[in-house]
């Protein structure tokens, strides 16, 4: 059994009337790259803050490296953090501040320039932090998170302010750290194609609870087998008819047609029913095939139709 770096059970958190988390279960295995995926307001940032010990849950419990994260300096030595918005003392120079962070963690000060170089920010070493652009600040935040060579990096929207080249470089850096230094990552992002390139597992959360969680290959197999792609000239009309079928769990419309998720064992039924429904409502079916599940497709199928239910 792989070791679990994060074990969260039944996490709930409310902000006044708003329920941010509603019994979230989350596990992050050692030596994995897990994507934490969900729509705006699904509870990703709240979950990350609880894992980092910045926020106490109303109920439920979380263990990171087998310890409670709240006010726990030992865990902070092992965890690198990239916040959605980076916050640093604005008047201090980039390299000076990172050298200070080296001294805080007790690592050689040379490491400061090393991490700046690794994120492509070496040219800005003498700039005050307030003079960094949004993208540079994001890179600086990533350099800051890596300074003490953490075993586990938690990143909330790590690539949000970066240009495509910088995103690509960063993904390469994540892959390299994971492969060469066995760093475990928990990455929250909306940019699913990027996540699918580097993640080996994912947890999709919706309405504050985990809807789907697990190894990506297994999830793809599970959902691909139960997902069919239907190409049609009038997706909206056909989708409405297909949704009436009792064995259909979810129908998602995209630019290429429909993704239809069916109950286990009912995969073949749609091949017979879809053409007759199409004929009935007067639309053309251009093709039906077993869906090639992607993270993007999985996300849309699960989140669009979950409404808080688990799949």
């Amino acid at each position: 059994m792989p070791k679990l770096l994060v074990q969260a059970k039944g996490l709930s958190k409310r902000y006044g009337r708003v329920t941010a988390l509603n019994g979230l279960d989350l596990e992050v295995e050692e030596d994995s790259v897990m994507g934490l995926i969900g729509p705006n307001g699904a509870g990703k940032t709240t979950a990350i803050k609880i894992i980092l010990g910045l926020l106490r849950p109303d109920s439920g419990e979380v263990m990171v490296f087998d310890e409670a994260p709240w006010d726990n300096p030992d865990i902070r030595r092992l965890v690198g953090v990239v916040h959605e918005k980076a916050f640093f003392p604005a008047h201090q120079k980039a390299l000076d501040y990172l050298r200070r962070v080296c001294r805080i963690f007790g690592v050689p000060e040379d490491r400061a320039l090393e991490v700046l170089e690794s994120v492509g920010l070496q040219e800005a070493w003498d700039r005050p932090i307030r003079a960094l652009s949004a993208g540079m600040l994001q890179k600086f935040g990533i350099a800051h998170a890596l300074i003490h060579k953490p075993k586990f990096v938690v990143a909330d929207e790590m690539t949000a302010n970066l240009d495509p080249q910088a995103r690509s470089n960063l993904l390469d850096l994540v892959a390299k750290l994971h492969k060469e230094e066995k760093v475990t990552f928990l990455l929250s992002s909306h940019i699913l194609p990027e996540l699918s390139k580097i993640c080996d597992s994912a947890t999709i959360i919706s309405y504050g609870k985990a809807v789907v969680s697990g190894n990506l290959v297994e999830l793809y197999e599970k959902f691909a087998a139960r997902t069919l792609r239907v190409s049609t000239d009038q997706p909206e009309v056909l989708a409405a008819s297909i949704r009436t079928l009792s064995y259909v769990q979810a129908v998602d419309i995209d630019s290429r047609g429909l993704s239809v998720r069916v109950n286990e064992g009912d995969e073949d039924k749609l091949y017979g029913d879809a053409p007759s429904l199409a004929k009935k409502v007067g639309v053309k079916i251009l093709g039906i095939e077993t869906g090639s599940a992607s993270l993007d497709e999985l996300y849309r199928l699960v989140v669009t139709n979950a409404g808080g239910k688990t799949a």
Binding site: L52, L55, P73, R76, F87, R100, R103, I104
Partner: protein
């Protein structure tokens, strides 16, 4: 858990707070103001006419520390409300909480910079002024000097820690500063009302209540008995004054502990 590397998180967070709180020319300006107000406003006129040497020493300390204490408050309000307040508002505290240091140690490092350094400059300026201006008269009465400073500092420290607690609650530098100024004003009004009530009712109770918040009132009444037309209203003796100083600091520490408890156990970011 892996082997712990030795860092110096506390010192570095303290140094970082110093760098943010006292960017040029804040430190230089306030040090100048402390020195200027300590030397220029020393009340030698009060010393000359004092009936006793002890009263003369108290009068000197009282006159010497009046304006510098207001400057101290100004600097501390700025450091706490704008320094710690903006750290909370902008989220810099989130970054600091990613370092291997307990929350109470983070707050201590921040307060050492915000209040400790200001106190150090205040006392340095005051001691230099006292020693240069009247060391021969001060030295035999050091216990009075210490008591006077303890009494005079209690109220500004209480205000500072109330501002700290309010800053932690509202997490907005500007709002905390405004609330602090309003609170100071209200306490000053309350102080005036208490003195007026004592004078009109010839009762010492309003003054005694006031002295719990501000023990300087008790010391002041000890040396210059608070009186109305018909005679003295309150003349606490020195042990009583010490009790009020003790009560004042109990209040100061209560608010400080409240702040630590909130920062350490309840501050959700």
């Amino acid at each position: 858990m892996t082997e712990k590397r030795k860092g110096r998180a506390f010192l570095e967070i303290f140094a970082s707070a110093l760098q943010e709180d006292y960017r040029f020319p804040i430190l230089e300006l306030f040090a100048f103001l402390y020195a200027l107000s300590s030397f220029v406003l020393a009340g030698f006129n009060l010393m000359g006419g004092a009936p006793s040497e002890e009263l003369a020493v108290y009068s000197l300390v009282f006159s010497l520390s009046g304006l510098p204490l207001n400057i101290f408050l100004l600097l501390v309000f700025k450091n706490i409300a704008f320094g710690l307040g903006s750290d909370l508002e902008k989220g810099t505290v989130q970054t600091i909480f990613s370092y291997p240091l307990k929350r109470h140690a983070v707050l201590t490092a921040k307060l050492l910079s915000a209040i400790g350094v200001s106190l150090l400059i205040f006392f340095s300026a005051q001691m230099f002024a006292l020693m240069i201006l009247a060391s021969d008269r001060i030295l035999p009465y050091m216990h009075i000097v210490v008591l006077a400073y303890l009494a005079n500092l209690s109220y500004p420290l209480l205000l500072a820690f109330i501002i700290l607690f309010v800053t932690l609650l509202v997490r907005k530098g500007g709002s905390a500063l405004v609330l602090g100024i309003v609170l100071s004003f209200l306490i000053n009004v309350f102080s005036g009302v208490a003195q007026l009530a004592a004078w009109m009712t010839k009762s010492a109770v309003p003054l005694q209540i006031l002295a719990v918040f501000n023990p300087a009132v008790a010391l002041q009444s000890h040396y210059n008995a608070f009186s109305s037309i018909v005679g003295p209203i309150w003349e606490p003796n020195l042990p009583e004054v010490m009790l009020y100083v003790g009560a004042g600091y109990a209040l100061v520490f209560f608010v400080l502990i409240l702040s630590y408890d909130y920062f350490g156990r309840r501050l959700n970011l």
